[in-house]
Symmetry: C2
DNA sequence: GCACCAATGCAATATTATAACATTATATTC
DNA sequence: GAATATAATGTTATAATATTGCATTGGTGC
């Protein structure tokens, strides 16, 4: 698990994400276009899930001509389809994925104080999900887990909720 | 686990849900008003998660003067707060809860063919979630799991997806 | 060049949810 | 029962999120 808290070198996270994205697109002959790269970079600007319209505004502020919603949503769809980001349904927001290729799984601990979404290793939870599904003869396509609470760091500094 | 597939006597589900709701409201001195009962009944009209605006239309068709969105959303909020229903974030929809009192947990198997949402016993998955959270010193408030796939019944009848 | 297909631009609109404030109903106290 | 307080609902408007449909651009292969 990467360290994702304030002290970490976040530029490293961004760089790695872009690297992984370029690799993946090259390998699968996908086009990592300008807008897709910009949106991915914006999603990776922190470990907090970010909304589509917030992305849109950030791009507008970066000198880009303000993109229309479909432009952003299409880039997000591309990134989702290829497992480069996850959608956090309970927040209507998007967050970078550490391990492209697991598009169908996203298990997150989301802090209600600092908003950071920590992605869990699928192996921690998936066996239980798989077993429960099997019990019902249910075949799993996707499984998203969104755990909301208070992270370790915030527990130290926050008195109460 | 209740049987929730076509052959079951669904009126029984509705009746039980209403009974539980009345009990719970009485015990906690909450008001189970007309609109709340109507919304709960509508949510329970099937085991498929239903959207707020669909509820609104159903109520309108049942002779009720078409309620405004806030009316429906307030009733839904009341039902959510008291654990009588769950919200399925990935569908923007609501579904009845079998065991009021577990408002903070909702683990579902959702069939992409028949849309039925089967609520899992929390005990099947929660231990794994709890352990993963503990590993991160993360304190859990709510945990929602939405597994999408194909249910046993549809697997038999559906060729492919 | 030309035909094709994917990607993007653009305008309009659909869908989901909430804010703000007025009104009504219910309960409590006197 | 009137006076008050509180909770619930009604009403209007609007915010926030997401998609549709169609025009345009841009690269790819022939």
């Amino acid at each position: 698990m990467h360290n994702i808290y304030p002290q970490h070198n976040h530029q490293h996270c961004i760089d790695e994400a872009l690297l992984r994205a370029r690799d993946l697109c090259q390998q699968h002959q996908l086009k990592f276009t300008t807008i897709r790269e910009l949106v991915l970079t914006t999603v990776w600007s922190s470990h907090k899930p970010i909304g589509a319209y917030t992305i849109l505004e950030k791009l507008a502020k970066e000198g880009l001509r303000r993109p229309a919603p479909p432009t952003v949503y299409r880039a997000l769809d591309f990134l989702l389809d290829n497992g480069l980001i996850h959608r956090i349904a309970s927040l209507n927001a998007f967050v970078g994925c550490n391990e492209p290729g697991h598009a169908h799984q996203g298990h997150f601990l989301i802090c209600r104080h600092c908003q950071v979404a920590l992605e869990l290793d699928t192996q921690l939870i998936y066996p239980a999900i798989s077993a429960a599904a099997k019990q019902q003869n249910f075949s799993v396509d996707t499984a998203s887990l969104e755990v909301v609470g208070c992270c370790a760091r915030c527990s130290e500094t926050v008195s109460n909720d």
